[in-house]
Symmetry: C2
């Protein structure tokens, strides 16, 4: 058994080297593989199945709010990218350029989309004419490319999968409402589905999206105390509409510019799930995004009736809507237990001749390690309850960890000491000046994560410069 | 009313100009829009929703056969593309090249994937070691790029959406079985979901995929008598495995090459749906891929109770799993009727004060135009039956049209006359020599569509050269 554990769990411990622990998990849980394309990953079945569950549940929530899915070209002509000044400045240095199509050089270079504001603006300029055409609430699921220098699986890679919503509205108020609606939807999704609590807030001007009037963000705290920006929602005002000339005739026959938003979440969420929930035994998946919610492990599976009973149980649980598989390989049970832990399946069911005789099975929870004996006649009713409880418990644990690693500071010495020695968020007041953000980053490498919606007043003055404070900021070292 | 019809249906008639009719439909039914990227399209909500229904139902069928989804990089390094000689020769002339990343030129050019055999081979070479690792049955849903010179919405564009399955097997027999299994799955899907009957067969060497040992195809007949290749399944033998050195240790500890397949279907299927089922009133969607299966059109909707009843009906039908919407816009009913026909929704339900008083509503079928009075107490049971009947009837109509436009020829004069004057498939015997294929293409523009699984013997000799015939071929002019 000890050997089984060693073989499966040859992963670095979190406390020893968190970065290596992360890399070990993504590879040993078979979520990704490296590819021959520098900075690009293969997302393997175990990883992609998590993304499919995220997609499905997020897309359902989108559609309930009136979102319609579309597909836009993956290329952006250079001249189109250049139409909005701040936007092109933000993205041009990190895009991939297509310069040849077939055997001929292109007359105009194309960018592989790093994001599609410009394409959606181009479309809206063509199809929005009257107030009757508004709002437009379009979204696409696709991959985008940003030519990053250093990459890490799920967290930062040259190509990643995401959804990007792009909307056009008749009024500034409606655009602001949609911006906030989607941020709230993101936060709720992350809490309810990924079991990750979020801090919601607004980005400072320094940290906002290229071309946005305001960027809103959800920020999560990883197990190592670093912050992860997990989703953003941008209000563009009418800036892009002016650059792309997107005008509509209102009810009084007057021409007006539309107001726009965009919002996105990415495969980075899988990185968040790993780094919030994982432990030294491996991945730990919240039941709602677990491709396998329970693995049935037959004990002494060669004894007559054991495999039959395992398969019968699997069929019954599947009929209840539970994602179940039977591990009937010829590996030893101890190895299978460790594998279930490594792969993060929320529960395993152990069932052997003695259990069958007693009319029971043993459910082992991945989150607590608890072993629960359940009568076979009760398991169909009981397992969904256990999965629900795991989902709740994982959110609760993550919230406790986040809260226990959220600090406050009112003097600069205290701030620097906390941010450097106590991994986590540090709440502190800020004057609103980018120079203080720059100084803090220089002194500590920490950045402003957001100005939270839930404001507090810790003191009257900026933690950095001592001038009057305008707002509370969450600071942190970030991925 | 006549004016409503004119306004909505300003489309060219099929008999007048089929190509223009097609273009009119894709634009007026709002399936696509042109983009600023030459040769690339915007797939709008009405078009993308069809693709989502295709994806969902096809993916379910895939997973039942053990397919696992993954995601591979969208770029292929030039050196990787070049590893299989036939493959690179086939694709290199029509790919897009990325030559710069960020501000720097790349050391090695990257191709935007036209198809991903080379990437999957690269992965399999890394992860397949033992017979225990086989089979690998991976698939991805993504977009691919082929730098086509002339493009048409859905049928041929520089970027299109598809799925591509790539498998690796221990034996040649298993690879052949998977190749055929997926072709049969495709054909069954097209019949059952898209209501399009397919001719299944094998491609001649001239028409097979670059790098394949054998390519199998499903071919559909469009309303204008042209053929559309709708899905292909390739058996690669061990050709790619040798080029990429994908070897495994078998049970006797002997090193062997794997045997591989790939198979794909694309957004072209939407083009097939349009051209098989559409008519001069617009699109006609089979219920199983109709994003809206019934649109409820309230008559005199300002009268008290009408809209309430319409919404109540919609809620009841939605609860039965029917995709329903209420058209409560301020357009006139006649306009709404024409719009339902243009957009191809399989049924509409007309309900006004008189109907409500009588406790009935009127269901109008898009396929036959038939008006059916249904009691409101029966509609929840009756509408699914009507939708099923429409689905069956559409397949039946398509089959009749296909069969009525499938001809035979035994002499070359008869062959040329038929293929030029009777749009459709022409069955004729073939000697197996590419020179006859070339001559037929030169003389008539027709190509060999496939050597059908269901063989007949029309004569002993090749329809073109008179030498002994080896096989029956379906010939046709194709998209």
């Amino acid at each position: 058994m000890a050997e089984d554990k060693k073989q499966v769990e040859a992963i670095t411990s979190m406390s020893e080297d968190f970065a290596q622990w992360y890399t070990d998990i993504v590879l040993k849980a078979e979520l990704v593989d490296y590819s021959s394309v520098k900075g690009c990953l293969v997302i393997k079945p175990a990883g992609y199945a998590i993304w499919e569950l995220i997609q499905k549940q997020l897309d359902e929530r989108f559609k309930e709010t009136g979102v319609e899915n579309v597909y836009m070209p993956m290329f952006i002509p250079e001249s189109l990218l250049e139409k909005e000044k701040d936007h092109v400045e933000g993205f041009a240095p990190e895009v991939a350029w297509v310069t040849q199509g077939g055997l001929e050089p292109l007359q105009e270079r194309l960018v592989v989309r790093p994001t599609s504001e410009t394409l959606f603006c181009d479309l809206y300029a063509n199809i929005v004419h009257s107030y009757r055409d508004l709002p437009k609430v379009y979204n696409q699921w696709c991959s985008v490319v940003r030519w990053e220098k250093t990459t890490r699986p799920f967290l930062r890679s040259r190509e990643f999968l995401w959804q990007e919503g792009h909307t056009a509205h008749a009024t500034a108020e409606e655009a602001q409402a949609r911006t906030e609606q989607m941020l709230n939807l993101y936060a709720q999704f992350c809490e309810e589905v990924l079991a990750i609590p979020m801090v919601k807030g607004r980005k400072t001007d320094k940290e906002k999206f290229a071309g946005a009037e305001a960027t809103y963000t959800i920020e999560a705290l990883m197990h190592d105390g670093k912050a992860l920006q997990s989703g953003t929602s941008h209000n563009f005002g009418d800036g892009f509409a002016r650059a792309f000339n997107i005008q509509y005739t209102d009810k009084d026959n007057k021409l007006s510019y539309v107001y726009q938003t965009s919002w996105g979440m990415t495969t980075r969420l899988i990185g968040a799930v790993i780094m919030v929930h994982g432990d030294d035994s491996g991945l730990k998946l919240p039941p709602r995004v677990a491709p396998v919610q329970t693995v049935i492990i037959p004990i002494m599976q060669n004894k007559p009736g054991v495999l039959d009973k395992a398969n019968e149980l699997a069929a019954a649980l599947k009929a209840k809507g539970i994602r179940v598989k039977v591990d009937d390989t010829d590996k030893r049970p101890g190895f299978k237990f460790s594998e279930q832990e490594m792969r993060g399946f929320p529960t395993r069911i152990e069932i052997g001749p003695k259990d069958i005789e007693a009319g029971t099975c043993i459910v082992v929870r991945r989150d607590t390690g608890e072993k629960i004996t359940v009568a076979l006649t009760d398991i169909e009713a009981k397992l969904p309850e256990i999965l629900d409880d795991i989902q709740k418990n994982m959110l609760e644990s993550a919230r406790k960890h986040r809260d226990a690693h959220t600090y406050s500071a009112t003097t600069y010495d205290e701030f620097v000491d906390t941010i450097n020695n106590k991994p986590g968020f540090v709440k502190a007041m800020w004057c609103g000046d980018v120079e203080c953000e720059n100084k803090i980053k220089e002194d500590t490498t920490a950045t402003s994560r957001c100005m939270p919606f839930e404001q507090e007043k810790l003191s009257d003055v900026c933690v950095c410069c001592g001038r009057p404070a305008k707002t509370l900021v969450y600071w942190g070292k970030a991925y």
